[in-house]
């Protein structure tokens, strides 16, 4: 059986995020990979692969990728509340990954910062890195 990549894990993460109705409804700008398109409405969420090492053991491959997941909002309280919903959706979640069994999904790093956008208004970025461990039997 061919070894899998991180693609099904990304799919599973997005599915888990979308499954949280409160989060999905609150994200007016939607969920985007990498960056949101110019002109997107706040708040929005971005996700992206940060690192993706593969460790090969006898009989299986363990993928341990880290994912950047950030909420961007005009209001810091709103951004933090949404980040809490992301935590609820993903921290220790049992992700359904095609062809791989999930060992865990955990937040390993928190980050937040503020920036000024093209309109000169403040933007708050809250989120962090989630690490997922998946195992695929060979």
């Amino acid at each position: 059986m061919a070894r899998g990549t991180v693609a099904p894990i990304a799919r599973a993460i997005v599915q888990a995020l979308r499954a949280n109705t409160a989060l999905k409804t609150a994200l007016n700008g939607g969920i985007h990979e990498g960056v949101a398109p110019l002109g997107s409405e706040y708040p929005w969420l971005t996700y992206g692969l940060h690192y993706g090492p593969q460790e090969r053991a006898w009989g299986s491959t363990v993928l341990t990728p880290g994912w950047d997941i950030f909420v961007f909002g005009r209001d810091q309280v709103e951004a933090r509340n949404l980040d809490q919903l992301v935590m609820e959706a993903l921290d220790d979640a049992a992700l359904t990954v095609d062809g791989q069994s999930t060992l865990f999904c955990r937040r390993i790093l928190d980050m937040s910062s503020a920036d000024v956008d093209e309109e000169g208004l403040k933007v708050y970025q809250v989120g962090g890195v989630f690490e997922t461990w998946t195992n695929q039997d060979l």
Binding site: G34, Y51, S113, Q125
Partner: protein, 228 residues
């Protein structure tokens, strides 16, 4: 704010000199890996930007003031070209003095139209705030006169060279105890975190965490003395 630090504090071992040496080597390995991954701008800003010149409705003989220092348009243009990022009078000061907007134009090779570079203008105003302090007046004069490098401005000039992020990566022994050795890999460039992590306008180009994670499986054999 601008630093990304990674501790691998899980590494616990007897404080033994050879082990410490091996860990130092290992930290260097991660450092090299991170350096190789750190993105580097491909062209130098000077080459890409073309020639900058100050343009104002009052004409070439117009003078500009920074705090107590007054410079001519030509002097400022020279300073701009020398520094990479030019220094000009802020828009609000001009407005107060009843003058029109100052445009910063660039002429790129191969382009017929001179247009205002708003990005550079924004940088200019930011820099002006920094340099308007009277203690920098001599610095500004010296830059404008083209004599030698000047304290902070000189450093900025050096940092215009591509590869600043890559050069700013280093590892160091950062403490520990008799049961613990801690090495830290750092990227000292103030904008490192905006490269490592995504922002609202840019996607992430990670270099530190991937280097660390890729090294994880190599740590144990390395400590046993088997380099691979």
């Amino acid at each position: 704010m601008g630093e990304v630090n990674i501790d691998f504090s899980q590494v616990k071992a007897d404080l033994h000199e050879s082990l410490d040496d091996r860990l130092a080597d290992f930290a260097e390995l991660i450092e090299d890996d991170a350096r190789a991954r750190a993105p580097v701008r491909k062209t130098t800003p000077g080459r890409r930007r073309g020639r900058l010149s100050a343009f104002s409705p009052e004409g070439r003989n117009q003078t500009y003031s920074f705090g107590r220092v007054t410079l001519s348009g030509e002097e400022i243009t020279r300073a701009a070209q020398r520094l990479g990022v030019p220094l000009f009078l802020s828009m609000s000061s001009r407005r107060k003095a009843g003058k029109g907007p100052l445009l910063i134009r660039e002429r790129r090779p191969g382009r017929r139209i001179k247009r205002e570079n708003t990005l550079v203008r924004r940088k200019v105003f930011k820099q002006l705030r920094q340099y308007s302090d009277s203690k920098y007046k001599e610095s500004i004069r010296r830059i404008a006169g083209g004599t030698g490098r000047v304290t902070k401005a000189g450093r900025d000039e050096e940092d215009v060279r591509p590869g600043r992020l890559r050069r700013s990566i280093y590892s160091e022994r950062s403490g520990g105890s008799s049961m613990q050795i801690i090495y830290t890999i750092r990227a000292g460039a103030p904008y490192a975190r905006y490269v490592e992590f995504p922002t609202s306008r840019t996607a992430a180009q990670p270099f530190l965490l991937p280097a660390l994670k890729n090294a994880r499986s190599r740590l144990k054999p390395w400590l046993k003395g088997r380099k691979r």
